[in-house]
């Protein structure tokens, strides 16, 4: 159980470990894109963790990184083809960030740090937990940006005509600034939790 839960808060890959920042900033212009990206990451993480855990005694340690990358790239290609076939809107919104899941440090990091040393079930739970943590991170930032920048959430209008949404939050500067404050907020909560023991 601990394997599943740690990824969601304590070792949240995005908000605590600061891994995988590029897709975090790029795809969070709308909550629906963030969910699409999050689900893709969960699928790749769980599948790659399971495969690498199964192969952990077969892969020679000197060539492990290329092996991991090829495994990950295979699952990313599957996601790429599936999204292209069934969810063309999300596919075009996510653009090159789907193939770029390959070089996402969260996934290679989990393969190296966890799946290559632990049995299958634990690795699957670890992947699932980390994936859910990433999904929550994506969603949180996307919700902030979509509400402030477009006045909507999942394309549902939240306010009337006033106030005019601040478009800058959809644009790149808003991504950096919102994420900066989001991480600062996480740090503040964590500091308070520590102070209270």
């Amino acid at each position: 159980m601990n394997e599943l839960v740690k990824g969601i808060w304590k070792e949240n890959p995005i908000l605590r470990l600061l891994l995988g920042m590029c897709p975090m900033l790029a795809v969070t212009t709308a909550a629906s894109n963030a969910i699409g990206m999050g689900l893709s990451v969960i699928f790749v993480l769980v599948s790659a963790n399971v495969t690498i855990s199964l192969l952990r005694n077969v892969i020679p340690s000197k060539t492990r990184l290329p092996c991991f990358i090829v495994v990950i790239a295979t699952f990313v290609t599957i996601v790429d083809l599936v999204l292209n076939a069934f969810f063309p809107d999300i596919y075009s919104a996510l653009g090159i960030f789907i193939p770029l899941i390959v070089v996402n440090c969260i996934i290679l990091g989990r393969a190296e740090a966890f799946a290559s040393k632990h049995p299958v079930l634990e690795s699957a739970l670890d992947g699932l937990g980390m994936g859910i943590g990433a999904l929550l991170g994506f969603f949180l930032l996307a919700a902030v940006r979509e509400i402030l920048g477009n006045g909507t959430l999942f394309d549902v209008k939240l306010f009337g005509e006033d106030p005019t949404p601040a478009l800058v939050f959809i644009l790149p500067p808003g991504a950096f600034i919102s994420l900066g404050f989001l991480i600062a907020g996480m740090n503040a909560i964590e500091a308070r939790r520590k102070a209270n023991g």
């Binding site: 600061l18 891994l19 920042m21 590029c22 897709p23 900033l25 790029a26 990184l65 290329p66 990358i69 090829v70 790239a73 295979t74 990313v76 290609t77 790429d80 083809l81 090159i96 193939p99 770029l100 390959v102 070089v103 996402n104 440090c105 290679l108 800058v168 644009l171 790149p172 500067p173 808003g174 991504a175 950096f176 600034i177 994420l179 900066g180 404050f181 991480i183 600062a184 907020g185 740090n187 503040a188 500091a191």
Partner: protein, 193 residues
Amino acid sequence: MAEMSIFSIFLVSILANNVVFARFLGICPYLGVSKELSTAFGMSAAVLAVMTLATAITYPVFEGLKALDIQYLDTISFIVVIASLVQVVEIVLKKTAPSLYQSLGIFLPLITTNCAVMGTALLSVREELSYFASLVFTVGSAIGFAMALIIFAGIRERLEVRHVPKVLQGAPIGLITAGILALAFMGFSGLGS
């Protein structure tokens, strides 16, 4: 983008579509490496070299995949090309220029997972640029990356001696600084259109 002149492709890829501030590529090295000006220069030089070689090789590879009608293998073949390229560059540098290897060595393995390298290689083929234009685009992107890294390293050296609230220290202030820089770079948008 295909109909743009070579010169405007070059300028746009440095300024208006800056890899870090507009395309969100290579954020990890941007936040992680750029603590000092000298390391920022080293990383930039390594990225420029690997990125240019990567596009130079992946472009014909993609043409080959297209000829065989298996473009969907682009992700997997590109990452294999980039990972082996980094290895080769490392070995060659070690043999021929040990002093350069000493200063760039630690950055080389990091470049494999730098999404700016793979990102520009993918963008070059997806935007259907010609071979020469895609090389110009890549060099421009690498210069844009270098510029972002060096500007940010300069700012960070000054932030070190300023009082920053505890919760904002580290990544948060870095991201907020990047946001303000991105705002400045937005002044270039519309360039080349």
